[in-house]
């Protein structure tokens, strides 16, 4: 059996190399060749002598013809944001497959890992499914669980899954490959959550609503591609790349209030359910440990971080006056 791997990132390279070594790789379909990562992948494929077909959304017929010429049994979409046109889905009749990193129909959407890490999931599921006209709804061919380490970031988990992908596809092939009987997804239920690409609101910290663990997980989910979980201080946006919930009294302080600045505890901030150490903060001036950021910019305990998107009162209320804003801090 020969497969075409459709992708746009070098994260698919371990799978491509493995299939190539097994002589089960028909070709690589590459989308978005303008990015550094996909160009790097194209170069690697060229070095291995792997045929690469550029995916042009305007020319699906070129892809169909290429599949026919390559006599590929299936096309496996892997780390791909390209949506196959319905005509192509129909024409390939079950040969168009996708690897989705969730237990479908839970976490349908463009970024299931973001939402699973953000929710603090300890495990996930790789799902190989047929591509249907509606995204992530096709019948399931094969599934495998994977673990999520408490310190995994979005990218570290992506890389782990990238390394795991050859084994996953290898096990599916051993189990029969395309001969495996597709199973319809279970019925979508109201508690099944969507996994859209994260927007400004979902990557922002809301000190009033999110607890220590919520923020700890959000920082991991936003690290590094999204630059960190956004919050603000004095109208400036900061990005939290790493945080740690710690045992420390919060003395009933309002969420977002700085409780402690100093060695060895670090920069500690009250949340509504405990205290969080801000370990790594990114801002335009550089990447700082929380403590070093606090010392460099002379933060004072008792000052408060604000949520993001910024809600701080003086910005919107027409009560903007620098003197009393200063006094309020």
């Amino acid at each position: 059996m020969k497969l075409i791997i459709a992708t746009q990132t070098s994260l698919a390279l371990p799978l491509i190399q493995d299939l190539y070594a097994r002589q089960q790789l028909a070709a690589v379909w590459l989308y978005d060749v303008t990015g550094d990562d996909s160009r790097q992948l194209a170069t690697q494929c060229a070095m291995l002598g792997i045929g690469v077909q550029v995916m042009d959304p305007e020319k699906p017929e070129a892809l169909l013809q290429h599949q026919s010429v390559q006599q590929a049994d299936a096309i496996v979409s892997c780390y791909l944001s390209f949506l196959f046109p319905p005509a192509m889905v129909q024409a390939l009749q079950g040969k168009l497959l996708n690897i989705h990193a969730s237990d479908l129909p839970q976490w349908r959407g463009a970024d299931p890992l973001f939402w699973q890490i953000g929710e603090g999931a300890e495990s996930g599921c790789l799902t190989l499914h047929q591509i249907a006209e509606q995204a992530d709804t096709g019948d399931i061919l094969y599934q495998q669980m994977f673990n999520i380490h408490p310190y995994d970031t979005h990218q570290s988990l992506n890389i782990s899954l990238s390394q795991y992908m050859p084994l996953f596809i290898g096990q599916w092939l051993s189990a029969g490959g395309m001969d495996c009987k597709p199973q319809p997804q279970r019925k979508f239920q109201s508690e099944d959550k969507p996994a859209p690409r994260p927007d400004i609101k979902s990557t922002g910290i809301n000190w009033q609503q999110q607890g220590c663990l919520d923020i700890f997980h959000l920082a991991r989910a936003c690290n590094p591609q999204l630059g960190g979980a956004a919050f603000s201080f004095n109208q400036d946006v900061l990005y939290l790349l790493e945080a740690t919930p710690v045992e420390h009294p919060r003395y009933g302080l309002a969420a977002g209030t700085i409780v402690h600045i100093g060695e060895p505890e670090g920069l500690l901030v009250a949340c509504h359910d405990g205290v969080l150490r801000l370990d790594i903060i990114y801002l335009a001036a550089g990447i700082f440990s929380g403590l070093r950021f606090a010392e460099r910019y002379q933060l004072q305990v008792g000052q408060s971080f604000d949520s993001y998107p910024i809600t701080k009162r003086e910005k919107l209320d027409g009560r903007n006056n620098s003197q009393y804003n200063e006094l309020c801090r």
Partner: protein, 408 residues
């Protein structure tokens, strides 16, 4: 009187559960040196003179400063000069940056870093008024024993040590005066111990490293309690908690300094109170609506504080209730201000705006006669005619908590 108070040497008693004073930091020596140099540069007090001159320099600047203040001929430059010299002395101690920059909140309030706390000396109205008061008060104890305690005094004990030094030079310092300085911050203790030694005040000054609210002594053993541990609106620091802790320790005729702190509730429009163009000296906001006292903290009121214990173990103090005038003009958005006046001793006061601690404190969570455009958790919407009861929150970041009162 506690015999321990007669001990001749400066003590730096360390909290058993806090080893920060003895902590060695694993920073490279050159990084620590660089951080200390950065502090010197930021304080613009780099000295080319040798360290052995510090006792003389500190002595001179303190004598000069206090004598000018006592004779009512001080100016702002005097305090700037005083700060420069004291800051230079502080830098010369080479206290490791991680220690002197450490700041935190504990159960009784905010503990600022000594690097920040040293700037208190620059608050001329506050410091000058206390100097005047103490230089007048202390000679009155010439004929009797006196135990003065100054909790949360910071790295310089700036309201007291200069006066002690000045009075001694004037031969006006009571022989039986015993002073206890208390601070929770180990870097402040290092600085205090060095300053006391530099001023050769070891015989009468004892330095204790502990939370002021953990200080134990015989009831009635404190003759003067000097405490100034607050930010504007009696907020953030542990002033009231400390006063409350010391109340039973005060002698029958003890002095509490400041004698009275008055907090009042005032309604005003933000632009009237804080105009874009700063007001002339002495010019006041005439558009304020004073709605009454919130708390008056004095020796007498300390005995009558109405303590409310909550289920979670935290404590509040029930303060005064005020009423918003029924005829308040709601075409403008009023904000609530908490104003502070501090009567230090008799007619010596720190008036509103004179010092950082007497600036009015706006409470933006209280919206009077309008609804905020961006409601936030904890907003208190108040209408004309409504009553507000103030509680004082003791834990964490102390401060006033206004609560709407249902009509009877």
């Amino acid at each position: 009187m506690d015999t321990a108070l007669r001990q001749r040497n400066v003590q730096a008693t360390l909290l058993s559960e806090d080893h920060n004073s003895e902590q060695t930091f694993s920073f490279h020596p050159s990084l620590l040196a660089s951080l200390n140099q950065q502090l010197r540069t930021s304080l613009t007090s780099v000295s080319s003179e040798s360290e052995k001159n510090w006792p003389e320099r500190i002595s001179n600047v303190l004598l000069n400063s206090v004598s000018h203040v006592v004779s009512n001929s001080s100016d702002i430059n005097l305090f700037q000069q005083c700060f420069q010299e004291l800051a230079g002395f502080y830098c010369s101690l080479d206290i490791p940056a991680p220690l002197r920059q450490r700041q935190f909140i504990n159960n009784n309030g905010l503990v600022m870093s000594p690097d920040y706390a040293i700037r208190t000396v620059l608050d001329s109205a506050r410091v000058g008024t206390f100097w005047q008061a103490l230089s007048s008060i202390l000679p009155q104890y010439a004929e009797r024993e006196c135990h003065l305690v100054y909790p949360a005094c910071g790295p310089f004990a700036p309201l007291l040590l200069p006066v002690l030094h000045y009075l001694r030079e004037q031969q006006l310092l009571p022989e039986n005066l015993q002073v206890t300085l208390i601070d929770i911050h180990p870097a402040a203790i290092q600085s205090l111990a060095a300053l006391v030694e530099s001023l050769q005040l070891q015989e009468m000054v004892k330095v204790l490293h502990q939370d002021a609210c953990d200080y134990q002594a015989e009831n009635g053993s404190v003759d003067i309690l000097l405490v100034e541990a607050m930010q504007h609106g009696l907020s953030r620091e542990g002033h009231l908690n400390i006063c409350q802790h010391f109340a039973p320790l005060l002698a029958e005729d003890a002095l509490l300094l400041p004698e009275k702190i008055s907090i009042r509730a005032v309604l005003t429009q933000a632009d009237d109170e804080f105009p874009a163009k700063p007001r002339e000296a002495g010019e006041r906001n005439t558009q304020r609506v004073d709605i009454g006292p919130v708390l008056e903290l004095s020796r007498e009121s300390l005995r009558q504080l109405d303590l409310v214990r909550l289920n979670d173990g935290s404590e509040l103090i029930r303060c005064q209730q005020v009423q918003v005038p029924a005829d308040l003009n709601t075409t403008i958005e009023h904000i609530l201000l908490l104003t502070t006046e501090m009567q230090v001793y008799q007619d010596l006061s720190v008036t509103e705006y004179a010092s950082g601690i007497t600036h009015p404190l706006p409470d933006l969570s209280v919206c009077i006669g309008f609804e905020p455009h961006n409601p936030q958790p904890g907003d208190l919407l108040i209408k004309p005619g409504d009553s507000i009861l103030f509680y004082y929150r003791k834990q964490g970041l102390p401060g006033f908590l206004p609560v709407y009162v249902e009509p009877a």
